[in-house]
């Protein structure tokens, strides 16, 4: 009888410890503030697109065709993204903007420069040369494969 009682007490104690542990984990776990993150992503992403639009309008006003101007705008934004990553500013934008700094093409440039810079000490071939494509590699692989498939399907449906 005494043994059974002791068992129950032990179980209760274990349960309360588990509960305490759960509360501790909850309090330490980083809280995603989804709404705030989304507002910041909207503002930062929107602002980057506005900068792109200003360049696009400028290049069109210089007499470029629409497609050509869009390509040059992409190149310009890539330049800015790569430069800001180099001087350490894009990391700060990333902390504020989350996906708003990742999804624009400047974020693509960031994903190219950051690992290449980080792994420079591993040499210019397997450090810089290879790490440039840490994220850009998968992006180009899946983008190009999908676009080839789209082209083939379009050819067959023609």
């Amino acid at each position: 009888m005494v043994a059974v009682k002791g068992n129950i007490e032990q179980q209760q104690e274990q349960e309360s410890q588990r509960e305490e542990y759960r509360l501790l984990v909850e309090s330490v776990k980083p809280q995603h503030n989804v709404l705030k993150n989304c507002v910041m992503a909207f503002l930062v992403g929107g602002t980057i697109c506005v900068i792109g639009q200003l360049f696009l309008d400028f290049f069109i006003s210089q007499g470029m065709g629409e497609r050509e101007a869009a390509a040059v705008t992409a190149g310009t934004m890539v330049f800015l993204g790569a430069f800001l990553t180099g001087i350490g500013v894009y990391d700060q934008i990333g902390k504020i903007g989350g996906a708003g700094s990742i999804i624009p093409i400047t974020g693509f440039a960031n994903s190219i420069v950051a690992p290449a810079m980080e792994f420079k000490r591993e040499g210019f071939l397997f450090g810089v040369g290879a790490k440039l494509f840490t994220v850009a590699g998968p992006v180009l692989v899946y983008g190009i494969i999908t676009s080839c498939l789209v082209g083939i399907i379009y050819y067959l449906l023609q």
């Binding site: 390509a71 350490g88 624009p104 999908t146």
Partner: protein
Amino acid sequence: MLKILLAFVVGGLICVVGQLLMDLTRSSITPAHILVGFVTGGVLLSALGLYQPLVDLAGAGATIPLSGFGHSLAQGAIKAVEEKGLLGAFSGGIESTAVGVAAAVTFGYAFAVLFNPRS
């Protein structure tokens, strides 16, 4: 002015979609997954004719997010197929994104060599 506002709103909303994907799904979803997903998604939406209206509406708001890179890949492939047949399926995508990719590699390399990481 309206064009600027539309670029801001549409570009911002596309980024919100990415933020929601990051916050509301498993933590194993990294920025790399998001970028690959947006490019591939952009190619597919463009092929279905759903992305061009967004570009007409919002300009850079639709072309600057990486889904616009996918749109450029898909439209390049489709246009090249119309001009050159099957060969175009393989050449068009890369041709139409050549400026962006070459700029990314060249400037990316230059700034990675020139600068050192903070901290």
